[in-house]
Point group: C4
Amino acid sequence: MSSSLPGLSSGRVEAFSDGVMAIAITLLILDVKVPIAEEGGLTRALAHQWPSYAAYAVTFLVIGIMWVNHHFLFDRVEAVTRGLLYLNLLLLMGIAFLPFPTALLAEYLREDANSHIAAAVYSATMVAIGVGFVALWWHLTRHPELLEADTDVAVAQVAMRRSMVGPVVYGATIALAFVSAPACLVVYGLMALYFMVFRVRAPAPQTSAS
Amino acid sequence: MSSSLPGLSSGRVEAFSDGVMAIAITLLILDVKVPIAEEGGLTRALAHQWPSYAAYAVTFLVIGIMWVNHHFLFDRVEAVTRGLLYLNLLLLMGIAFLPFPTALLAEYLREDANSHIAAAVYSATMVAIGVGFVALWWHLTRHPELLEADTDVAVAQVAMRRSMVGPVVYGATIALAFVSAPACLVVYGLMALYFMVFRVRAPAPQTSAS
Amino acid sequence: MSSSLPGLSSGRVEAFSDGVMAIAITLLILDVKVPIAEEGGLTRALAHQWPSYAAYAVTFLVIGIMWVNHHFLFDRVEAVTRGLLYLNLLLLMGIAFLPFPTALLAEYLREDANSHIAAAVYSATMVAIGVGFVALWWHLTRHPELLEADTDVAVAQVAMRRSMVGPVVYGATIALAFVSAPACLVVYGLMALYFMVFRVRAPAPQTSAS
Amino acid sequence: MSSSLPGLSSGRVEAFSDGVMAIAITLLILDVKVPIAEEGGLTRALAHQWPSYAAYAVTFLVIGIMWVNHHFLFDRVEAVTRGLLYLNLLLLMGIAFLPFPTALLAEYLREDANSHIAAAVYSATMVAIGVGFVALWWHLTRHPELLEADTDVAVAQVAMRRSMVGPVVYGATIALAFVSAPACLVVYGLMALYFMVFRVRAPAPQTSAS
């Protein structure tokens, strides 16, 4: 295993990243608060906080997809360099930040002006994370020596181009945020489903052996 | 290892699922709050919040059993497909949601009308999780090529039928919730013990080698 | 690997237990709250909550030692049975409960009557956990077939007898709690150091190969 | 594998340490609170709490670097002794404590006298963690038999000397804290970048095989 960072195998970085993503996804429930209700009013109080459940479900799927994409990337990586480690840490900083815009959106979804800001913050966070994925793939296209022996650089190039869909679509939802925050939440959910159904598949070049 | 999702071995999905379940089970204690008591009144204040301890203990056992059942399932899986991954993510979304109905039930167990709603929400969450397990086993009966080489499809069929006990019994507790919430809590605990004692055992077909 | 619970190796149970203990130990900091202080009063406010830091440090060491003891036990285990799994889950339920008595003790340490109750609750939790360790070792002395091939049943018997120190000493601190809660905190810390220095060592029988 | 602590391999200690660091880094977001804002005032309310975002980003990088340094150290370790385990537990106690000074600094950064205290507490925590790293390397220089076969004791000596930069610089920020707390935050961030760019590299002696 050639490696410019002794003591940091790809597997180790993956395990740490997995830990961060598993924790972030599970912490989401802490922002679904037990409502205060007077006797007989619990059904109404629970129904009232539907944005919390919607935000929980959507961000859960979103982080789940990110976890799949992250693995897809690191399983193509043979050696970890300082640059890759650095970019990955910034990516994780974005993913671990997600519980905050999720809680923000849940809190302000039914307000007027504030809902637009909250959705825009969520969208901006998603753009930042999306850029992080593009940057990681870009780094691999520039340093093909970091790739697994059976992985052609074309795989990284295709993946980089595909990963640009994220920042573009999420960037567009920043504009959408100022029209309708609930519409943004729907788009986030649809994007998660899109990645689930279309993106998570075997890439064309490669997969002969493996 | 044949796999329609390169880069996602069964072991990886298990490790991520383990992380989510370990975190969810440990977060439960955050909802057992330090009571506010005046000087000399701590014993009474601690006793007053007995539903918190009961809910903690029951849900801890419940998630513990789910962890066992989850392993039992994934140790039979050889290859991970998009469908399996998707179903597993939905299952985890349900399990990671459990701290919320647990806290809800603890908060409202001693009230009247609200206690029924809180218990019904807990039961409904358990039904959803139970359906998730049935769906995963059903997927394996329909795609026996995903199973380990030494695992007969009959194992998955038996396991699917057995896993239907969950949604049925928990579904019945939705009705029970409107009679008595504490009775529901007792049934949840008994169900956990039932799964512990009777379900977690070597299945009939298979176990020759392994 | 003979195993009465297919799909649950000793390593898997250890990994899940490690996760729960790592999370419980790290959650402790959530109960060290940022104090509310007026301008210029932060030093005083920080000093005022010294019980929080003391409780954090002591429980951190306590869980750290438990982690070591838990590994020492499971590394002697070859096969996981339903009984072992059940006892381990109850043990984890006790360990994951520790953030609650820790926060309770920190909150009430400087009060009078309430401090005694809080310390007694902490001690009782430690007794329960200690009994859990004794029960696990006892189970292994009764089922030596679960032990690793190179481990003599005498190892389990010695370890079981040694582990009884825990419940006995912590049991005595329940009485001490009604004399002085700060004294209890000191004893918990000293016990952790005692286990660290004297208990965590190579046992007499065995260690020839390994 | 020679080991004075049977049942505790270097890999196990690393996995537990990884877990603690991954959880600590992900818990940081819990201290970025959703602000309370009146209709139309969310942008202002979000901007007002910029110290929370800055403290989140800096401590995230800080723990990220610590994770890298921790791995670099333990990958040189062959056998775990009581002393090493003890020192590592104290180090983790410091790292897991970081969410507290982070939240403290975010809360009081814009105040006057209190900001100095908050920054000093953060700096002192960093000094303690830095001393922990020095102590671990020092332990390895005194017990070279704990090192991997291919690792010369000179590696540990060089690493120990390099790791002294931490306590010295962070010690100096205790003085800086009483001049300007925001300046401290900037220095913490720059230190993280310094370690990222200059420290995380292949050490001179060794790396022939590996």
